[in-house]
């Protein structure tokens, strides 16, 4: 009843095409954004920002990137960690070695470098898919982490860990948690909008056509090679930027080894749990994967389990959740949400 669609007719393609055609959805988004921009900076503690909001936002961006590749274009990648590392380390090297490089330009450039790397390691997708492709993307994961640990990339740091330089954008130095949060928030929102536009456009349809039946896609003129590589490129750009944000605005330290294969799995879980082929799903999945360990360690604390045991239970629980989602709801949380919306539309009637 609250979610009625009736009475909201579209009289032009423009209106039908709008991202949030329903008034209720527009109001919800407005409220969420208002809270995000106005309320949280005033109210949230540093703990909440650092343990919850920052990982959530940055992982959401990485998940959007991976969803483009896996959910929309039907490929698979276990190299997400490696690509995040490429973004972070590239940005660091650019800023370190090119004096007076504007920060935003450096970040963008790091994104493009990651994009190019993604295309190179996406080449096998032209000949293989599924498991085979998953294994070759592991090649990317292991090779890139090794490569980025070579002394040159870290400017011969003795510890193997480098510190992110201070960054300022147009004179505004970003160093408090709230400032970092706002910067990340803006970046993530802007990039999500771009992603949404892309997936609803010709490009998005090309990707989905390749995903659903690449043989048929060819007969309408879609070139599988170019389209798949394009998906890798765009996806890697997003993931690279996520890596930059992770290193610069979250941790402050850049350590290639921290972007290990388990990061790749984590982002893949976010995409599966949140919903393949759904931008919203990427956010839902990221929230889930970020919150779950915190919930588990809270429970573990109550039950008196040690932190190591909590970590093991976490591993086990993720495995179980993956299975549950794949068995019961392969379309993830996003689908559950849209079903719930349908129910709300007709509530209080059952059908």
């Amino acid at each position: 009843m609250f979610y009625k669609k009736s009475g909201q007719f579209k009289t032009s393609y423009d209106a039908d095409q709008a991202m949030l055609p329903l008034l209720q959805e527009r109001i919800s988004i407005f409220v969420i954004l208002a809270v995000a921009f106005l309320v949280i900076p005033l109210v949230a503690t540093t703990y909440v920002i650092n343990s919850l909001l920052m990982p959530f936002l940055i992982y959401s961006l990485a998940a959007v990137g991976l969803n483009i590749l896996v959910g929309y274009c039907g490929q698979i990648s276990l190299g997400t960690g490696g690509f995040m590392a490429v973004g972070a380390i590239s940005a660091w090297n650019i800023i370190e070695r090119i004096p007076d490089m504007p920060v935003l330009a450096a970040f963008l450039l790091a994104g493009f470098i990651t994009s190019a790397t993604g295309v190179v390691f996406g080449l096998p997708a032209l000949r293989i898919k599924g498991f085979y492709l998953a294994v070759t993307t592991l090649a990317a994961q292991f090779f890139l982490i090794w490569l980025l640990q070579q002394p040159w990339f870290l400017n011969y740091s003795a510890t193997g860990v480098i510190s992110a330089q201070d960054i300022s954008v147009m004179g505004w130095t970003i160093n408090t948690p709230v400032e970092k949060y706002l910067f990340v928030l803006v970046v993530v929102i802007v990039m999500t909008l771009l992603a949404k536009n892309i997936v609803r456009s010709v490009t998005g349809r090309k990707w989905m056509a390749i995903r659903d039946m690449d043989v048929a896609a060819e007969i309408i003129g879609i070139r599988p090679m170019a389209t798949k590589l394009q998906a890798f490129a765009v996806s890697s750009f997003f993931i690279g930027i996520a890596g930059v944000l992770w290193g610069y605005l979250y941790l402050g330290q850049l350590e290639p080894a921290a972007f290990d294969v388990y990061v790749s799995f984590d982002v893949l879980f976010m995409v599966i749990i949140g919903g393949l082929g759904s931008i919203l799903g990427s956010f839902l999945g990221a929230a889930f994967v970020v919150l779950m360990p915190l919930a588990l360690s809270f429970l573990g604390g109550i039950l008196g389990l040690g932190t190591a045991m909590v970590a093991y239970v976490e591993t086990f629980t993720f495995g179980v959740l993956i299975l549950l989602f794949l068995l019961a709801e392969p379309h993830g949380l996003a689908h559950i949400l849209s079903v719930a919306k349908q129910q709300m539309r007709i509530w209080p009637f059952p059908y």
Binding site: G130, F131, T136, F143, M309, T315, T317, G319, L326
Partner: protein, 294 residues
């Protein structure tokens, strides 16, 4: 020159150890078309349970191993009943992701039971150097490869000579035809995953004795994947030969190339070999060509 031969042969022997891990994967794939991403973790799981029972509960190895064998058969049953059967109509990519789920379940369980400390798993395979002519080798590797080779022979004998083996080959060839003659796929899958579990025990023993039993074993067992890609996922001779190639290649690269570019290349070298090979021949050395008809 002798040194070079030593490096190569050591690599060949090591490669056979990878093949042993991959063998279970090939069986599962042939019989059910499923890519078992959890295969490396099955090795760790078996290793940790054997070592754990042995060291935490004092159960002698010759008892622990059969117990874990029963455990693996039980695990196979659970997997078949609760994962494979419900997912039978799903697209392969989703089933593949389900095996990633199994990966984490088994990993988590093993750690929950036994923690993550390093344990030993010593069944008494002789160590120490051995000389074959002029060439110095590790006797452990020699024996491990022989064991691995015997396992392969047993598997081949099983599939060729026994009734169940024939059934497996029928299922691998054509699911529907097999069902049409009354073969129950669910039973076959349970058998195949059990065998894969038993092979994992062998791999667990030889790897456990070599590098110790701890979660990092998974990283090593992971290298079975490039071996599988190179060999072709449907071929037992393929996984052997690919293991030899990757083992030798990795060994040579580690010794001769590694120092030039920074060391520690063993982690990714097999993967890059597989990746480059996939660009030219996706079916691997001996796999069946993947044809898509409209």
């Amino acid at each position: 020159m002798t040194f070079f031969i030593e490096v190569v042969i050591t690599g060949l022997l090591g490669g056979l150890m990878y093949s042993t891990v991959g063998l279970g994967f090939v069986l599962i794939f042939k019989a059910s078309g499923i890519f078992n991403f959890a295969q490396p973790v099955m090795v760790l799981f078996a290793a940790m349970f054997i070592a754990g029972l042995n060291q935490e509960f004092g159960i002698p190895l010759w008892q622990a191993i059969p117990l874990v064998a029963l455990l693996m058969i039980g695990v196979a049953w659970v997997i078949e009943r609760f994962v494979l059967r419900p997912m039978v109509n799903q697209e392969p990519i989703l089933t593949f992701m389900a095996t990633i789920g199994i990966f984490f379940i088994l990993l988590g369980l093993a750690e929950m039971f036994w923690g993550s400390e390093n344990r030993t798993l010593n069944v008494g395979i002789p160590r120490g150097p051995v000389f074959i002519g002029d060439i110095l080798l590790q006797s452990y590797r020699v024996y491990s490869s022989i064991i691995g080779f015997i396992v392969v022979l047993l598997v081949v004998l099983f599939t060729q000579k026994t009734k169940m083996g024939r059934v497996l080959r029928a299922v691998a060839d054509d699911h529907q035809a097999a069902q049409a003659v009354g073969i129950r796929l669910t039973t076959v899958w349970w058998v195949v995953w059990s065998i894969a579990g038993l092979i994992a025990i062998v791999a667990a023993i030889i790897w456990g004795g070599s590098i110790g039993v701890q979660p990092i074993m998974v990283d090593v067992a992971f290298k079975a994947f490039p071996v599988l890609l190179l060999g072709g996922l449907t071929s037992i001779p393929g996984v052997i030969i690919a293991g030899l190639i990757i083992g030798a290649g990795e060994s040579v690269a580690n010794v001769y190339l590694g120092p030039l570019i920074g060391g520690g290349i063993g982690n990714w070298f097999p993967y890059i070999i597989a990746m480059v090979f996939m660009l030219y021949r996706p079916q691997g050395l001996f796999g069946e060509k993947i044809i898509e008809r409209i």
